[in-house]
Symmetry: C3
Subunit: 678 residues, 3 copies
């Protein structure tokens, strides 16, 4: 089949006479799959219990006739007006008790039994109706769960939360202990007294907040699972997925992955953000890693500009192709867009589409068509996989806990910190998995743990065992601080990692905004850092510092000014058969890169391709379909890349004479090469 | 009568013994008109249905005796405590469902039948009581409609909105089509399901928002019209007006003008804003143009400082006189202030008044008195009119639609863009009308259409016809994009203007904040631009760019860097017997001025007076009362202005020997000259 | 007894087996007093009316056994979940009508009869139970009144407010006059119509807002007094206090002081704010002055970092000791911390504690212990007092009124202005009281009145009498403007001070943000200012200026640019036997210092110690226990301070040979010396 190519198809926005043209142009654009029906609820059930599938049958039949597969939405993402009109109790409420109203989308309380039962009834109709339709390839449940309504605080949610707590804690004493309610006189006498963490006069109980984030994720997942149960019952064998969003706090992608037959993602690179391909790299790696390396689907991206940022620049020439290939290089088996035909009205009419307002004689349609053709020209990639020797740890529970209020510093941003650790690996051209701490780590040469604030004793022991058995581990500051209930591990921070790291953190020493401190000591690091653009003299660090007492570890870098002058900033500790590094501050990027290069070399981790020019990403996929080396030039200058041996330029093949073996590739600005064994 | 001079008079704030002094000092200050009764409701109807006009009779009688005309307020602007206490349902609600409470003013839902019936009952009493009073010169309905309560989102408003929609659309299918509800599953089954655009989880439907802005304007107007109906019934022949506010988004001044016997404005120049006289110029021109050039009234301005900005500087010496004369120069037949005597208590006690806390021995009272005398010394201005060869188009519906969310760029600010186009004309000394696109344009040599995002096909055709018949038109970017329901005109942007402009916009290319791009190509323009203070080398543009395909037009300027390097930025197109310019970006001010100078010259539009020094405004009014040339020095240096021939200095006449003919005038800092034919 | 040393003790957070270790370590740390029970309500009354004092008895007995005094909290600061669950009507509401929910603390409406009756019932139990307990030293009512819930706007509060207004005004006419309701049609017909100043469409009535601030303060005080009444009835003779917060707008410390047996304060210096010891100085002086110079208690400070600022730096080495001694030097008889043992869970687990997570082998515990020992080594300080010749005036009512909206400038910040006047005195080493304007002033050589916007005629006359009788007074701009109902004093600003100051302010001339104006004229002042680091040439001023007409005063400084060039900026006026200075702008710090130095010398006010190095604070306490000179080096360089004669170094005594007399002291960075007569 090759890489799937296509987009969201919303035919209800157009008169039926347009549909035939749609099919014709989809074929011209090499479309192989569309996601249909995301917002069709109001049209298939125009009044409660009154079903109209006729028009949608014609859409499905047309697609089947054109040989286009359908990722069929369950249509539950946006309840129709009649539902919220008859049942205003389904509307969500924010922490201030303000109701959120219809007019946009996703205006439902995830805990609402009324919403859920209407959704399930709709999915039953859909599944019964289309289970055997030849166009049906996959089910797409809901849409971007938790995108706008991340959590609801209404009375229905409160009751659902209490129910969830009863299951989780059994006794109110257990909840009181978990939530540390002895502080601020919060001891509950009964589950009935518990509420969501609605806006309080001051910081609400952090464990209550943390559990509400967990509950919120599970409430959304319960919606997903309720629909999925119908689908697997009535249409067994058809894969079920939903489109996750990148670095999306309310939805724990690792927890969801267990319930998704295939991982799927919406990702909108920001053309105005110079480094957004690094964020893309992180998120794509996480998607791939979430289900153990299986290919995933890029279900939505923009052909060019979006409409929802304050200023929406279009994708510059070459960017759409480059970023699409980046997804494929990092494991995507589908490249889809929002949406097929650009809307004339509504909230997203200025969101670019495969077929723009201006029609087919446009840069966008030409680029889309060219990419569709190009993807179709390399049919073997689908199903191939990548291999990484480095694992970066990510954990939603730690993220949730870290960003609660009332911390040494509220400036610790999980997503930013994750990228601070991912970027030096990405830029060094090292393949990387992004996995939760519970994942089996023994296969990795190097594990990087950025800021795992919440870490259970069991997970800490798993990290220790990994190092003890010869693994190399890098841990950064403010890790291993609290348990699963946001309670500080007793025994001196970071208690469960103290022996492993060979040190104790006596006091946190967060830095003011804009303040930097100097670090020094690692001569080699600084030479390397300066090569990478770091400043002369001692290195700089910011955001955070801490008073480290060495208990076996050695100091690689020390603070050389400020209150902590002379104390360790970065340490190394031999532990068992492995080694663990600890970074007690945020190093400037070039120094962080130099450190990671050192650590990586110590761990014997090589880049995908040595000697890559700056800005060029290399990735490999291999499997039954062959072995593919992807070279992606994220820069805007032409560069030349030497290959490890003679290879075939898969993209050049059809059009160029140069379909023979090459040993070097010239990549234009934002250029892409796909190479196979010659 | 001459230009009316005076201010808001709120005698209820003072014991009656002060009133006699008021009359004496008003005469000393040359006051000819006061606005009375704006906030008198609680005092004339202290309890429901209990009327006390005695004290107000004495006020009116006193004014009549002093020969001072009264612009009599209908007293409905601020409902008394007893009304909201007995009927809390009149209180407005914001889009979050939060009620807005009494304690300030304007705390009523415009759709409230309770509020409206109480207001009408009060106006009936007033009109019956004062219809024949000798002091009554004019009715002043309400006060600053929509100033604080721009719209209400309560259930009463919701029902009124549905009623308005039923009238507008007749069928729910028509509403669904107009609102593009096929997107996001928003199809309504019945009008009963429709709500105001209350805060939703994400962008509410834009057509729903746009219609709510229309409805909000009409709901306010319905309040005005309900009162006006009483007044014309019970006091026929007395002109009816209300004080509009400048560039006030909730109130469509053009739509209101049809119902106002005379246009009236409140305008508070900001002494801390260096260019606020340009904004004044724009707003004054709009007031004058709204009723086809008839004189209008400046019903409120501050004698010096206001109290409601964060930091309220007083007007520097000369500014109050200058800015008052600016209003007269641009067509005002009245110069009034808020307020006569400075309050000792309440929310506006630090708002300056004609008679300050510090009494008559003050700069403010002296300046007020001098201005009153000066205005009285030039009695013929009243009723004279101005003539403009340039029309700037303004349209509330386009404004409303433009500033909705979910756009290519949310940085497009209608008021700012309007001034970007008005300023070069103002600074060049060109007389200008500000009119809606529906106005007859054939009389103008040049029409400037800044950013008419929403443009109906009919209005677009009117523009085309204007050019076809020999008119010169300048259109700026992001014009002609959507129809009256915020639906993109199909056919390639800007579809309804595409043939006229001779081009197509393939993609919008909005720029990041702070980003500029270079433009070049128009040698002459750049010379002129540099004379005007523009930078050397190529010009700069910011905010917006777009990918223009020429379809008959020629490029005057092209982008020379950035993604669009080489593509057109400013174009010109001969169409029929006229010419149309198109500006696809925001040019830096000097370049915009140079372009407008070129365009204006091509159109044969001359300034009011050639060779004016920078910062000097010239305006002419003429009519039965004579011909007046106003020269206003907005700068702080003394300048000399040569006159086209010998004229008489009207302001010098009384005091100076120099009452003979002059051929040049020296204007001190913030100086004013009024010249008549010698 | 010496200076009390200890902290908040929250044993309910820990299993009983930890309590014995607590007592042992408290003794090791020289703890003499703990505050216990602040958040124990839920644990002593786990269900309504069900009392469990057993565990708390064991805590109290243990402390008594260890000879540690208890400041016993009334436990009412944070209502338990069962109370708000059964009575949600106790929850407070904000001005938008949004309820504030449980989950934090202080979630009660101060006017709630339900909350108050439950609180009183609890205090009755406590007082009956512990009145005669040997550990009981003091009662601590509630906790940080008004910290989070500064005021409530619910219907219960509304009714309580109306009740308060009926008492205050007797008739609705009196209220209408006081509130200037004639403006904006706000005349009330009956008290029933009055509401709290909930969010209105625009500025709510300022007098209504001002009275609501008064009412809010009294509603909180009513809670305090209701509990105090129980305590004095059931445990007569035990002193009653509560922990006030510094510069805490909702709570008028002067009004509360009349009801506090001893003043007590929580103060958290910000380690990231370079000058926070000056703010501390101001607040400590206010505490000391509030009850006529009697010693006060520092009930809470942090041993190191807090958790509630966005970024919480720890206290750098030496700072905790220095800042603790600063409190003692300025009159504190107790130095306590929040809290004894660092929490493992809950909202404040990252707030430092005397006993950190990391245990006794920590900088913090070592420093705490050393300070405890050091304080115990100087046993005579307790009960001694200080004497000041300068009084700085502070007034909550003026503060409240000043910071209402709708002013000439909303940039006037009471706390900032107070420090602008306090800093030059503090840095000059001058002892200073901070007292309300109603205090007897005749004993002071100099009185400084910063920005007393609200000043009753009676208080103004008291200031005049003070000067008339030979006092020296400095008044700064925007003083004496309004009466107790925020009504402008008629007669030209500042009317009640006009004769005293010998001038009139014709117009306020507030400056734009970032704008400065030049002042010049006082040669000597400028020399002195330049010595102090002020810029060369004329001085600068910002924030505010005004048009002053001299009426007897002489100009010391004049504005030399801007609109007011040539007009007075700072004046001096001989009045009776005294002199009054007036400062009509905000002078740059060095110039303000130079001016205050001049004024102070004219008043014959000497510093505590002449020739102090910059950054060193000197303070004296004396009494039955002896005479103590405190020298505190707030700088980070070592300095030497000469003494007026040979003295004994009280802190050096135990450890050093140098226990003999010294005539100079070397202070290391953040060093402290306590000297007694040799």
């Amino acid at each position: 089949m090759g890489i799937h190519f296509g987009g969201d198809y919303n035919p209800e926005q157009w008169p039926e006479e347009v549909w035939a043209e749609d099919l014709k142009l989809m074929k011209a654009a090499h479309v192989t799959m569309v996601t249909a029906g995301i917002f069709s609820w109001a049209k298939v059930e125009p009044r409660p219990g009154e079903w109209d599938f006729g028009w949608f049958d014609r859409v499905m039949d047309g697609l089947a006739g054109a040989g286009i597969a359908v990722c069929l939405a369950t249509m539950t993402a946006s309840p129709p007006p009649w539902l919220s009109h008859r049942h205003p109790e389904i509307l969500p409420e924010d922490p201030d008790g303000q109701r959120r109203w219809p007019g946009g989308r996703q205006h439902y309380c995830p805990s609402s039994p009324v919403y859920r039962s209407h959704a399930v009834r709709l999915v039953e109709q859909l599944a019964a109706h289309y289970a055997d339709h030849p166009a049906l390839a996959m089910w797409h449940v809901g849409n971007e769960f938790g995108c706008h309504t991340r959590a609801c605080y209404c009375d229905v949610s409160a009751e659902d939360f209490r129910c969830w707590l009863r299951t989780r804690y059994t006794s109110i004493d257990a909840l009181n202990a978990a939530w540390s309610t002895a502080f601020w006189s919060q001891g509950y006498g009964d589950f009935d007294e518990v509420l969501p963490p609605r806006t309080a006069p001051t910081f609400p109980n952090p464990a209550q907040q943390l559990d509400y984030l967990r509950f919120g994720d599970e409430a959304l997942r319960a919606c997903y699972l309720a629909e999925k149960a119908v689908l697997t019952r009535l249409a067994p064998g058809v894969p079920v997925t939903t489109n996750l969003m990148p670095q999306h706090k309310p939805v724990d992608a690792f927890a969801w992955s267990a319930h998704m037959d295939v991982m799927a993602l919406d990702f909108y690179q920001d053309p105005h953000a110079p480094d957004d391909h690094v964020r893309a790299g992180y998120v794509f790696d996480l998607m791939r890693s979430a289900r153990g390396g299986r290919p995933w689907l890029l279900l939505e991206q923009a052909p060019s500009a979006v409409n929802w940022r304050p200023r929406n620049g279009p994708k510059p020439p070459g960017a759409m192709r480059l970023w699409s290939w980046q997804a494929v290089a990092q494991g995507a088996d589908a490249v889809l867009y929002f949406q097929w035909r650009q809307s004339l009205g509504g909230a997203e009419k200025f969101h670019s589409a495969m077929l723009p307002h201006a029609g087919t004689d446009t840069r966008v349609f030409r680029d889309v068509t060219a990419l569709g053709r190009e993807l179709a020209s390399v049919p073997g990639i689908e199903g191939t996989r990548s291999r990484a020797e480095v694992a970066l740890l990510a954990d939603w529970h730690s993220w949730w806990a870290l960003e609660l209020d009332s911390k040494p510093s509220t400036a610790l941003d999980h997503s930013r910190i994750a990228l601070d650790h991912y970027r030096p690996l990405f830029e060094a051209g090292v393949a990387c998995d992004v996995v939760p701490p519970q994942r089996e780590l023994s296969g990795y040469r190097l594990v990087v743990a950025p800021n795992l604030y919440l870490l259970t004793a069991a997970d800490a022991e798993r990290l220790a065992a990994y190092v003890r058995d010869g693994g190399q581990l890098l841990v950064s500051f403010f890790s291993g601080i609290v348990d699963e209930h946001d309670r500080v591990h007793p025994g001196g921070c970071p208690a469960p990692l103290r022996e492993l790291l060979g040190l104790r953190v006596e006091e946190f020493w967060p830095l003011e905004a804009g303040r930097t401190v100097a670090v020094d000591g690692g001569t080699t690091l600084f030479e390397r850092s300066r090569e990478l653009g770091g400043g002369a003299g001692a290195g700089r660090a910011d955001l955070w510092s801490e008073a480290i007492d060495l208990e076996g570890a050695e100091a690689l870098l020390r603070f050389t000014d400020g209150d902590l002058a002379g104390r360790p900033a970065v340490t190394r500790h031999g532990y068992g058969r492995g080694t663990v590094w600890y970074v007690g501050t945020r190093l400037e990027p070039a120094l962080m890169r130099a450190l990671l290069d050192d650590v990586r070399e110590a761990a014997g981790v090589a880049p995908v391709l040595p000697g890559l020019p700056a800005g060029v990403q290399a990735a490999v996929r291999e499997g039954a379909g062959g072995r593919y080396l992807f070279l992606l030039n994220h820069g805007t200058r032409t560069v030349e890349v030497g290959l490890p041996g003679p290879m075939r330029d898969a993209l050049a093949a059809d059009d160029d004479a140069a379909s023979g073996a090459v040993d070097r590739v010239v990549l234009a600005a934002r250029g892409v090469a796909v190479l196979t064994d010659a």
